[in-house]
Amino acid sequence: MTAVLAEVDLGALVTVRGPRPAEAAGRLVLALGPDEWLVAGAGEDDFPDADAAVDVSAAYRCLELAGPGAPAVLAQGCSVEVGVGESAATLLARAGVVLHRPEEERFRILVRPSFAPYLRAWLEEALTSLRASR
Amino acid sequence: MAGAHPAFLWRSPDPKPSYEVVVVGGGGHGLATAYYLAREQGIADVAVLERGWLAGGNITRNTTIIRSNYLWDESAAIYEHALRLWEGLEQELGYDLLFSQRGVLNLAHTLQDVRDGVRRVTANRLNGIDAEWLEPGELAAVCPILNLSRDVRYPVLGATFQPRGGIARHENVAWAYARAADALGVDLVQGCEVTGIEVRGGRAVAVETSRGRVAAGKVALVAAGHSSVLAAMAGLRLPVQSHPLQALVSELYEQVLDTVVMSNAVHVYVSQAHKGELVMGAGIDAYNSYAQRGSFHVVERQLAAALELFPLFARARVLRTWAGIVDVCPDASPVVGLTPVEGLYVNCGWGTGGFKATPASGRTFAWTIAHGEPHALVAPFSLDRFVTGALVDEHGAAGVAH
């Protein structure tokens, strides 16, 4: 089993506080908490009715892990299993992440930029060990 | 075998209907208290009531580190008093305690660790406690297998060193006090759980136990993790919280480590005992617990940190892990002395540092019980400090743990 790691650009990101915003024009909405949402492709001004909206475009980076081995790679450092189409804020190795699984064998890993070098290095090792163990 | 035990240890008497002093808790501090009551305060009409078996709690679950290089005068005074007693204890108790003054290193990994270390060393110096500050270059001589490379996540920037610090064999210590107390006439009553404390007119007069009522002139609570539960029986509330503290030992290896190494920053406390096993402690588990059981991730972190410091340990194996229940005060200092209930005395809150204090704790507590007033060395550790705010805060700067 294999998997590949790449970085992707989700564009503008905004944290919206309050009720879940509508997914307009297929824009990505990830739940960070009961009243906290991460919306891709939007800005602070797009949510006049929200309790708060904060531009966090630069506060996350997004790694993408794809391939049949992807779940096994994540399982090396994360006890949460994310269903297809679902997302979860959790820990991967020693970094807080938001995991999103758009497809069966594709995961998005949103992480704070300052943690990205660490997480990349960890994932590279996990991929190595995946190759070695199968 | 070194540290072999004597031919006779103690009787197993049934409890008498009444004693001058009832000590609740047959751990290290309780047994020491009973011993010093009989030996120095002329009170031999003493019972030690132990719920399970003698010395089954923290006294034999800790990493046996002994040191006195604490920051604040109040702490340094009582721990140094303990260390002086340790230095004569094998003689006094006639028991091989495997007391080994191999020195205790406390590592600094950040610039603030360095400031705190120097602060503690200079405080120790002014208190007449042997303490040194060692630069990384000086560390290799003290601990050759320590990883002093700058090229690690948290390089070692220096360390405090107390040459007189060291370790002892924990059960020998407890058993030595027990045997000596028993020989002086103290009743060590095992399998005797205290279920109630009888308070009449604001005075503690007896304890209810699983083996009947035992009247007492004075009641002394020395039950570490269970102090809150016991105090509650007398309607008393204590500013302590009980947490699991995990430790582990490895298999036996030929000697590679002849000093004690502590790193509060990464939570590693390690020494190699005489038999050859590596004895290691971790940080406390975050949650309150009486389960004598901790979470595995704490052990994972502890060993990860240990290998950063000691690459040589990579193939060492964990033989046994366990946990004790430590009761921790908000300022990480103990509570010793009188209580609002007349005739009821409490000795608790030693947190992760109780073993090293055992002789001083027992001795000063015995004095306190006998005289009905706090011994000078424990006066600063009375309950009213939480009202005035005069805490003895051994967090942060003091390298508090273990």
Binding site: T15, A59, Q76, Y118 | L9, V318, L319
Partner: protein, 751 residues
């Protein structure tokens, strides 16, 4: 294949264990016991082996019964003690798994339970194990422990650590044979009957059996009770545990009746209870005669069960012997506690991948590559790497820091302050929340202005400090210290969520949204002016004001705050453009990058405290001389009540002061305690300690900050700062602010 044992070569076979090969080669001895040096040989066939311990290269204390033979293998017998030798660290990893049913043990009953189970099923077996339809079989995987919440940790071939969450656990761990007790039961050739069979009835070997003891370890670890089963003469699982079942021989079912138990007739000192620990029936008798009644005491007195085999063949016999000697039923004695791991597990496996650079995340800012390229020496601040100083070729730290300080005082410098925590506070009640948490009164703070602010814990001790910026009618941006960013956000959230949920305000971490460069020094305006349209003169951009605009073509928020006492602007931009901003600033003129060390010096000259360095959790705002920042008008804020306590209101508390060494070249060590006299014969009363100590370019001398008892009343006194070694250093107590006390430099060069 060939292998070497104790220096002699033998022929081995594929798939054989070292123990099997030795026995087949007629080697029934070859080992020695740990204390008495008695000759010993292979005793069992599995993990319970007490005798056949070997060192295989760097691997200490391996059980010959568990070593899979490979060609050229070299093994040396060990007498109970291994050798730790330098060797490359084995690469280990971990795997989390979840299942409906976890079966431990791949024997008949284990496989049956697995086959019958519904849903996701995992089977772990410490030996080899055939595949099973619809079951994830983990062969050569040993369950080490059962933890809270049906969390099972298992080791696969010593290289992967499995962490398995199971809704249901079926324990089918079987039983271990125990020795019969007779004088000389440890002699080479004597082996458990089960091993005798496993090794094909080797010639010259003597099978013995004292019956079978179920492997109750995991059940007991999980908190399960035990009951003594007289028929098999061993404890078996009793009672119930939520989510855990026992199956097969573990329950005692199918085990043969135990042979009748009797103390040996003959030399008890030659009759071994624990072979690895060299403990005999005579030792148990000594323990009982010493007055011991608890099996735990007997264990410690004799050290039975403390060997690397954890007494797998010894513990039950020890109980039976002790019970016999005490004249009680074994069931009354109970057992010793079973503690994880079931078999020893290597440190490297438990530590897994948390090693080296991955031991703890290294956090870096967007400008990090530039710092590296320009030779910065870094300091660990929490998980962050921050430039401490930027030495030029051949330049020592002291020289570099003096140069960086001088640049900020005389020209212009810039520092990467992106690591400072930043919290976005939004909502109609934002001001109310901040007023309750900060010691300042913030009501008068206007939009577009900011203020230095302080937070205390409820006990009145300083928690953190930072700048509160009002960026909108109902929106604030609060900065925190680098190390406290997460803690302060959690602190604010806790009060908001649990204490004042009625407040309509939201908190969001924007620490990494913004990259921030501090531009400080009298030439700060000259450096920035060409890069921005924002008017920078003191009239239109006063101290503690905030402006929005472009800097180097990048949308930016500029704040006129200063942590150095010099004219300073903090420029914040979208983190993705932080490096671009930094490079533009570097290219804009003769600007000197400076690190945390220079910053520390500059702020110390102004007596700006650093939380965590000049404070230690026992320091109030008043102790720091920050009375001006503590509101007297607010009815309450977190910490206020504590200031009135007896000890907290003492006039002779330790207060922040400056110290000037009498010898202006002498640097006192940070952490040094302060004494009244040069005479250092203990005990010497301690008056306080040095919190910060530097060489100052501006003052042309050394100086320090200290917390000194009644300090503000002691200005002018001469005290002694005590280093770890040598004489005390005479220092004069001074007012804390040593440089530009009137704050003239704040606005830059007068024009």
């Amino acid at each position: 294949m060939r292998f070497t044992f104790a220096g002699a070569e033998y022929e081995g076979r594929e798939g054989e264990t070292l123990a099997a090969a030795l026995v087949r080669n007629g080697v029934l001895g070859g080992f020695r016991s740990i204390y008495r040096g008695r000759p010993r040989g292979v005793y069992s066939a599995h993990e319970e082996e007490p005798n056949a311990l070997v060192q295989v290269g760097p691997e200490p204390l391996v059980r010959a019964t568990l070593v899979e033979l490979e060609d050229g293998l070299v093994a040396d017998p060990l007498a109970g003690k291994g050798r730790l030798v330098p060797a490359p660290r084995p690469r280990c990893d971990a795997a989390h798994a979840r299942c409906d049913v976890l079966v431990v043990g791949g024997g008949r009953s284990g496989r049956a339970a697995a086959a019958a189970a519904r849903g996701r099923v995992i089977l772990v077996e410490q030996l080899g194990c055939a595949p099973l339809d619809g079951v994830q079989v983990l062969a050569h995987t040993t369950a080490l422990g059962v933890y809270d919440g049906n969390y099972v940790v298992a080791a696969e071939r010593g290289r992967r650590l499995w962490k398995i969450r199971a809704l249901r656990i079926v324990l089918a761990t079987g039983a271990i044979e125990r020795p019969a007790l007779f004088p000389g039961n440890d002699r080479p050739g004597v082996m458990l009957a089960s091993a005798f069979e496993a090794y094909g009835r080797p010639a010259g070997a003597t099978p013995v059996s004292g019956g079978f003891s179920p492997r109750v370890h995991l059940w007991s670890q999980a908190g399960g009770r035990l009951r003594w089963d007289d028929r098999i003469g061993a404890p078996v699982p009793a009672g119930e545990l939520r989510g855990i079942e026992c199956a097969g021989r573990l329950t005692g079912a199918g085990l043969p009746d135990a042979p009748p138990f009797a103390l040996p007739d003959g030399d008890e000192d030659e009759t071994f209870v624990d072979l690895e620990r060299d403990a005999t029936v005579a030792d148990v008798r000594r323990a009982v005669e010493a007055g011991l009644r608890s099996v735990e005491h007997v264990k410690r007195y004799t050290s039975i069960g403390t060997g690397s085999d954890q007494g797998k063949t010894a513990n039950v016999n020890a109980i039976r012997v002790a019970a016999e000697l005490l004249g009680v039923h074994p069931g009354e004695l109970g057992t010793t506690t079973f503690r994880p791991p079931y078999v020893p597990v290597s440190f490297a496996l438990v530590a897994g991948r948390d090693r080296g650079e991955l031991f703890d995340p290294v956090r870096v800012t967007p400008m990090h590559p530039w710092h590296v390229a320009h030779g910065a020496v870094f300091e660990d601040v929490g998980q962050w790497k921050r430039p401490r100083y930027y030495p030029r070729p051949g330049e020592e730290m002291d020289a570099a820091v003096l140069r960086e300080c001088r640049a900020v005082c005389e020209a212009v410098g810039m520092q990467d302050v992106s690591t400072l925590g930043k919290i976005d506070v939004q909502g109609p009640d934002a001001l109310e929340l901040l007023n309750r948490l900060y010691t300042n009164a913030l009501d008068s703070l206007e939009v577009g202005r900011c203020r230095y602010a302080l937070m205390c814990r409820a006990d009145g001790m300083v928690l953190d400090d930072g700048v509160v910026m009002r960026v909108g009618e109902r929106r604030y941006l609060c900065t925190t210290t680098t190390g406290n960013a997460a803690a302060v956000l959690a602190w604010m959230e806790e009060w908001l969520q649990t204490e004042w949920p009625e407040l309509r305000v939201r908190l969001t971490s924007v620490t990494e949204q913004w990259a921030t460069a501090a531009v400080a020094g009298p030439d700060a305006r000259e450096l920035l002016a060409p890069l921005t349209e924002i008017p920078l003169d003191a009239e239109r951009f006063p101290f503690m004001a905030i402006r929005e605009g472009e800097v180097a073509g990048i949308p930016a928020r500029v704040a006129r705050v200063s942590f150095s006492g010099e004219l300073a602007f903090e420029v914040s931009v979208d983190g993705r453009r932080g490096l671009e901003l930094w490079e533009a600033l570097a290219a804009a003129g003769d600007v000197t990058p400076y690190g945390t060390e220079a910053m520390h010096v500059l702020r110390a000259e102004k007596a700006y405290p650093i939380v965590g360095q000049d404070t230690d959790g026992t320091v109030t705002p008043f102790d720091l001389g920050l009375d001006w920042i503590v509101s007297r008008t607010k009815p309450d804020f977190v910490g206020k009540r504590s200031f009135a306590r007896a000890d907290t209101s003492r006039p002779d508390r330790k207060q922040l002061v400056a110290l000037l060494p009498l010898d202006p070249r002498e640097l006192v060590p940070e952490g040094a305690q302060l004494a009244e006299t040069a005479e250092l014969t203990p005990p010497v009363p301690m008056l306080g300690h040095v919190t910060s100590s530097y060489r100052s370019a501006a003052l042309g001398r050394t100086f320090a900050l200290a917390l000194l008892a009644g300090g503000r009343g002691r200005v002018g006194d001469v005290l002694y700062a005590v280093p770890p070694r040598g004489d005390g250093v005479p220092v004069r107590v001074a007012e804390p602010v040593l440089y530009d006390p009137e704050g003239a430099r704040r606005d830059g060069r007068p024009r």
